[in-house]
Amino acid sequence: MNRNNTSDYLGHLVFVLAILLGVPAALGFDGFELNTFARYLSLAIVAAALALSWGTAGILNLGQAATFGIGAYVMAMHLKLVASAGNPDGLPDFMGWNNVTSLPWFWQPFQSLGATLALGLALPALMAWAMGIFMFRARITGVFVAIITLAFLVALQLWFIEEQRFTGGQNGLTGLAPLDLFGWQVDTYSLGFYYLVAGCLIAALALGTLILRSKVGLVLRAIREDSQRVRYFGYDVAGYETFVFSTSAAIAGWAGMLYALVLEFASPTYIGVAFSLAIVIWVAVGGRESLVGAAVGAILVNLAEGRLSDLFVESWLLILGVGFILFVLFLPRGLYGLLRQGFDRLARLRMRAAGRDVKPQESAR
């Protein structure tokens, strides 16, 4: 356990240093490049959120994009209201086109930045909490969780497109104002904004790791291995599952808020099946057992997409698909599992060199 921790902490340190110093230096502090990388970092947050529920508790949430999208819409609604301040009644333009005459009540709270930031975390968390109670109390597991979350995602996206009067429909929310963060006018092409996103990523990872290292994390891993046995020990399995599901949703909402800031619009594609499964792909590539691994997976896949899709415009998706199949077949634990295996082998060699007899340790699955 201690040995594992040492290499993990080392890995975390390398990751944090790379994000804070390595990346900006490698990009030459170029505003455009920093903005692109900030987008990858916000996607890394949602990947870590999925790893928290999938890798730890074995809850495969195919609807993670739902919570992400709600976060994005919350932020976009605030920025849209700021941008529409000059209009009569502060009414956003698309509402006028759809014959909405006054601002609906559920748009009102987003006038305030504080309420927006709080709701961006609370709305996804509340939604996931309700779903968690709904599913986990009935001991729904595995494939059925995947199906229910997927069906929910499709329904939510249809609803967002249908309610064009209030959500902008297929176009989403565009023409947003820049964020005024307590007096700081956020320029999304600046180093300061990059550090804001990077700080959020590191904070989210720290929060997640804290949960994983605590007793809660231990119980969650036990639930992943055998929920029935954990129940016999008297733990409230549904309660733990709901907790991690909602926490993951809140973090995903957080990521969504940042994503809407980076791209300066919110669109129903954020709540789409393709995007949701893309998140699953990133996590599987990086390694579902490790939050940092999942984050790295998201960054690498998106980086590859950014670089390769220029070179291979047509075949990029083909490369992604084939690569993903190979990962699932041969590296089911992702890049993290590969590293872990390497570290374990190294440690074993060192111990053998020191003349100590050690049994090969079965690493956690």
Binding site: I148, F152, A155, I281, F324, L329
Partner: protein, 289 residues
């Protein structure tokens, strides 16, 4: 009155399409526990093979059906042998791998044939409508409905009456013991997967005159079909048939009362509740564990 009959028929038509798509999925899921998210792409390939036969060889849709079935079954067989067979011990991972397969197939078609929507003509002898009093029904949709029922009966007979079906049922119940009796389980699995894929191809060919044929047409079909399979009950093709009927008619009914999108949302929410309270489905298979 006419509106109601028309809506019932619209629901039945939708149900027949759902049944065609879901039947192959149900067999694959029931037999091997594999959630085949590439199933929608098999449907898409079926539609494109029909298109190719029609525009390059001038073959009619009906004549193309057997060729489509065999072609897509062969593709399914290849996919099972190369990828899916390695994942039988990791059922959740099959979701991921088959999604990857879906991306690859979609992209291959997009690159090879192009992203634009293709037109496929329905069979000439089935054009036109049949009217009963004031109720007007499209001949082609009636044909699809009858055909789907025919395929369902054939599939049932295959499972219940043939030696292959007996072997498959034995392997589903207990793979190890059936292997002791000399049944080649992997061969049975590969053929089952191929058959399921072939059915998807047939579905694609049949729906191609009714929908837009594009490389991404499979994505939403597979979600719908999968919901139907789960509602019907794992491993029960009768359940799948009943569930397609219910989902098709409910969608048509909601769409009449509200509108298409709200109807779809309503059905999805109803399905979520159904799975929550009855995850074993409508007609669960009784199995000894």
């Amino acid at each position: 009155m006419e509106t109601i009959i028309n809506q019932i028929f619209a629901g039945a038509s939708l149900a027949s399409i759902l049944l065609m798509v879901a039947l192959g999925l149900a067999i694959i899921y029931g037999a091997m526990g594999v959630i085949n998210l590439a199933h929608g792409e098999f449907v898409m390939l079926g539609a494109y093979v029909t298109w190719a036969l029609q525009s390059f060889l001038g073959m009619g849709l009906l004549a193309a059906l057997p060729i489509v079935f065999v072609t897509i079954a062969a593709i399914g067989w290849g996919v099972e042998r190369s990828i899916v067979q390695r994942l039988y011990r990791r059922p959740l991972d099959t979701i991921l791998a088959t999604w990857g397969i879906g991306i690859v197939l979609q992209q291959l078609v997009r690159m090879g044939i192009g992203p634009e929507s293709r037109f496929i003509a329905g069979p000439g002898i089935l054009s036109g409508n049949t009217s009963f009093g004031n109720v007007v029904l499209s001949n082609y949709r009636i044909f699809v409905l009858v055909f789907a029922i025919g395929v369902f009966v054939a599939t049932w007979a295959l499972l219940a009456k043939t030696e292959f079906g007996r072997k498959l049922r034995a392997v589903i119940q207990n793979r190890e013991i059936s292997e002791c009796y000399g049944i080649r389980a992997e061969k049975v699995y590969a053929l089952t997967f191929a058959y399921g894929a072939g059915l998807a191809g047939l579905a694609g060919a049949l729906i191609s005159p009714l929908v837009n044929t594009t490389p991404s047409m499979g994505t939403y079909l597979v979600v719908d079909a999968f919901l139907v399979v789960v509602v019907g009950g794992v491993g029960s093709i009768f359940g799948t048939a009943v569930a397609s009927g219910i989902v098709g008619e409910t969608t048509a009914f909601f769409s009449m009362l509200l509108n298409d999108t709200v109807g779809r949302i309503g059905v999805l929410v109803a399905i979520i509740f159904f799975i929550r309270f009855r995850p074993q489905g409508l007609l669960p298979q009784i199995v000894r564990r």
